[in-house]
């Protein structure tokens, strides 16, 4: 049973990482990177490493995504200021 769930998770990781690389919009890249972290944390949980899973879910999917979004917002603000 768990092997099927893990296979689905792996497929989701591969698809979201391809989106993160090839997407034109930076925001969708960032969000799919967060999804990759979420899938990886689920995979860690299946592989009997709950400590790493908790850390990955808190830092990879939570904090680093938020920090990337904030940084993207700041960079875009600077771009519009230059155009004006």
């Amino acid at each position: 049973m768990i092997i099927y769930v893990a296979t689905i998770v792996v497929i989701v990781i591969i698809i979201t990482s391809l989106i993160a690389v090839f997407s034109k919009k930076l925001l969708s890249s960032i969000i799919s990177m967060g999804l990759v972290s979420l899938g990886v944390s689920g995979l860690f949980f299946f592989l009997q490493a709950p400590d790493v899973a908790i850390t990955e879910a808190a830092i990879g999917a939570g904090l680093s995504t938020a920090i990337f979004v904030i940084a993207l917002k700041k960079v875009k603000k600077g771009e519009t200021k230059d155009e004006e």
Binding site: A53, I54, T55, I59, G62, L63, I70
Partner: protein, 278 residues
């Protein structure tokens, strides 16, 4: 220049102080007592030793490897099962094996990890250093539901983070995830209200104090058990909250340090600063 000579003196004085400090550190490192007359590098878990029975019997018969106060293995090395909430006086009474490796056997490694995180956070703060300015465009005000909801959620998330790092020696988790959970709760507070700013200097002081607490716990180990970051408290019964000696103390220090550090990083990322570079 007029102020040139004092500057030179200042830098020479600083170099002098640093040199004295380094020499003292080197001397302390060279003359550091080897704890229990045991090579600390060889000190691994007893169950790990059990895998290699011949070596275990040899070391046991020589009486060299295991500490004096510790319960010795029997000569024929049988497998003695460890029972939850019953077995007492283990070498390291943490129910979570990962924690006992990370904090007890490889505690110095964790100290280095915390230092790496501290350097990364101070790099972020150095890059984003500057005077706080008000944003020119008015930001959209979050609704009342968001404001109240993030505040209620923050209490729950904060409690959960504290639970993670206080129970680090019993359940999966530990200082780093607990601190990250607390920091994400503070991120929620930032989203809930425009212009929310925690006390930045207070966060820094808190973080430094908990970092110092980590080193002081290690130094207590150095002076009482004669090995840096050695366990100096009784290990108790496995599975109890008050067990595993100093692991919970160190994890509380790490959790507070990581939480305040990441919160300060988020604070300096989210606030608008006037550029002082370029």
């Amino acid at each position: 220049m007029k102020n040139d000579t004092p500057k030179v003196f200042k830098s020479i004085f600083a170099l002098f102080v640093v040199a004295i400090f380094m020499i003292g550190l080197f001397y302390a490192f060279v003359s550091m007592p080897k704890g229990w007359g045991v090579n600390v590098n060889n000190r691994v878990s007893r169950l790990y030793i059990l895998k290699n029975v011949r070596t275990a019997t040899k070391w046991l018969n020589s009486g060299k490897f295991f500490a004096k106060g510790m319960k010795p293995l029997r000569a024929e090395v049988p497998y003695k099962p460890i029972k939850f909430k019953k077995t007492a006086n283990l070498e390291d009474g943490a129910a979570n094996v990962v924690t006992s490796i990370v904090v007890d056997y490889r505690g110095f490694d964790t100290l280095g990890e915390v230092t790496v995180l501290f350097l990364a956070a101070s790099g972020v703060m150095m890059l984003l250093f500057g005077k706080r300015v008000k944003p020119k465009r008015k930001k959209t005000e979050p609704s009342l539901i968001m404001y109240v909801g993030t505040r209620i959620a923050f209490a729950v998330i904060f409690l959960f983070g504290i639970y993670i790092f206080v129970h680090g020696h019993l359940t999966p988790g530990g200082g780093f995830p607990g601190g990250a959970v607390i920091a994400s709760g503070i991120l929620g507070l930032f989203l809930g209200r425009n212009g929310y700013s925690p006390n930045h200097a207070g966060l820094k002081v808190f973080e430094s104090l908990s970092g110092i607490a980590f080193v002081i716990i290690g130094l207590i180990g150095l002076f009482s058990v004669k090995s840096f970051l050695a366990n100096f408290l009784p290990t108790g019964i496995i599975g109890n909250l008050y067990s595993a000696g100093f692991i919970s103390l160190i994890y509380i220090a790490i959790g507070m340090k990581v939480g305040s550090e990441l919160a300060a990083v988020v604070d300096s990322m989210i606030g608008d600063t006037k550029e002082e570079w370029s």
